[in-house]
Symmetry: C2
Amino acid sequence: MRIGMLIIGTELLQGKITDANTVWLAQFLRPWNLRLRMTMTTSDHNEDIQAALQMLYQRCDVVVCSGGLGPTADDITKDSLAQFFGKKVIPQAGARVVAEENYARFFRTLAADHGYGYLPEDFIALNNPSGFAPGLWFTENKRYLLAAPGVPKEFRDMLTEHFPKLVAPMMKSGGVINLLNFRTRGVPEERIFKELAPGLWDELSAFGAVSSLPHVLGVDIGVTLEGDVELKTARVQQIMRQSPVAPHIWHEGHESIEEVIVKKAREKNLTLGFAESCTGGLCSHRMTNISGSSSVFWGSVVSYDNSVKQNLLHVNPGTIQQHGAVSEATAMEMAKGAREALGVDIAISLTGIAGPLGGSTDKPVGTVWVGVARANELKALRFEYSGDRETLKLRFSQIALYTLLDQI
Amino acid sequence: MRIGMLIIGTELLQGKITDANTVWLAQFLRPWNLRLRMTMTTSDHNEDIQAALQMLYQRCDVVVCSGGLGPTADDITKDSLAQFFGKKVIPQAGARVVAEENYARFFRTLAADHGYGYLPEDFIALNNPSGFAPGLWFTENKRYLLAAPGVPKEFRDMLTEHFPKLVAPMMKSGGVINLLNFRTRGVPEERIFKELAPGLWDELSAFGAVSSLPHVLGVDIGVTLEGDVELKTARVQQIMRQSPVAPHIWHEGHESIEEVIVKKAREKNLTLGFAESCTGGLCSHRMTNISGSSSVFWGSVVSYDNSVKQNLLHVNPGTIQQHGAVSEATAMEMAKGAREALGVDIAISLTGIAGPLGGSTDKPVGTVWVGVARANELKALRFEYSGDRETLKLRFSQIALYTLLDQI
């Protein structure tokens, strides 16, 4: 099945917002082993929308359309779709019911002659789990069209609710699937499948579609199972757990590293904190993006200036003088100082060079020391990465979170 | 002039990366009062690329193409463009020179028969300021095509270097322009132009194209001047500075709030720090994204748990007990404690409720207190915003940075 996407979004073309729906949809489709063939973004000009529909409908089995379903004059998606399929927009009892339910959910009443009660002939209205505007569904000659609002939350919730029911049953598999995900770290994509486990991809492919998705300092290996999923799940897990990739798997599932850390630390009743220099607060920011992180994450010291390392983390001025701020010794003293100052079970420290200035031959831009302090342990590990300042901060924070996960 | 964009990016359609070039290009075009008419994303299938080129070339004067210019087998942009325009790919001395210079910049040598030395007939090779692959330029019947690598940095640097020289001179204005930008805060877009200064848009439009771009807790008002820019600049500045919007302007220009803070604090030789609770390190992370921030930003205490507020910031336990952690009194004690602990001139504190849990009738989710401590001043201000957890963290950090800027 070939999937196309039409984004009707003047604000995207004006640079007011960045499109987040495409990447979401592409990832959402992966469990069904479906891929986006092409996407187009147009403004709310009917002529452009007609041309785009023509192009996508010619080349795709399913067209997912986003945006332009609201109640204002520039929301012309419904009219454009009607024109394209040669339909009239008419009042439909089904659409009216769906819209009334959407309104009732927000304790509001739909006006008697509201446009949401109108649909092109033969179109079906879709419930909007998180907004007012109903979505649209139309099928003809084994071609499918699903139109959803462009607001990311509404788009996602609508696709999540309706796509599996509407599109998946049309697929060979009937839509019964299980997506296994193995989150690995420390080995680049090419090395995993070319050097480390050259037969793995083929071996896994016997059970379902295999995918490989790079993330920050790691790779997700996905296997989509159809049919007898229980048996296949067990077999795939066994293969992965016995493969040379096994030591690099840090999580089986779809959770983020922050979520896994919060969950595991909570289970073990551990409290956590950071001493951040080069990452400038990014580790703490990432941890606190997780609702409920306050039960395990107690706080951090962002010690950008050496004086803060000395005053709040009690790093010895002599250590910095002798070894430098970016050194094993300083990283260890920072972690130890943070653990005591914050009163936490495990403290992780970072000191490195995010650039673009400040590098040297010994310690090039991209060098980072990650320190670990816990009750009976104190150590620091050196890593080296490449990238611009923001990329390096992200990579530094990621290796610090991996290091923290190892400790829990 | 109508601008179209063709993104050749299999990885975008697979959901491996998010497109960042479209929003950048749209914003980049704004100074010339140019708009994107439509964009398309295809994979590296020639058939799809031909169809997309057909569509864009029919409807746009300029097509900007990104991706597929590298040296591997799936980089087919050059061949596809040649086919579309009915040209042959041939060795070109000009292309070879450009590629050799790109290589020399990285202290590398171009192989004798490297593909970078080949171009479609009548195409011109463009210098790549930050990579190896040359860009392409082709013009025919007042239609223009510019192809650049898809890597965001290379795409941006190439467009920035070549677009003004190649495309701008074709425009009515001859490309002599000045984009004035007034960054405002605290008043929503609708209120600025409907209530606060209803005549402003028309008044400014007499001098050039006016634009309004919302950002976090603020709006940028842009005016694009052509022709006698010096005189017009003075007049527009005068109008803005005397308008009811004037008190809301925090910067004239295009710099970010973090950049303005670093620049101004450096001029006044001030050092800065934060005590962050609800933002969990985001203010510090944002400040340290600016290269050179270390000269003014010394550090922060992320005091997520109350124990950290007490131990590191010396907040009185009685204050928290009596007024709560989210209160004027706690915010003030946090700021005072951070200023002393970090040894900085100005400390800003934040304590609030980012949700989704933890709100109450008195202090709903979205409430934040921002404290300010400097040599002779200690105060705290209350704000209330709406949004999900990540949005609220961003808004909280933005109001804290605004508050900090006011103090410098």
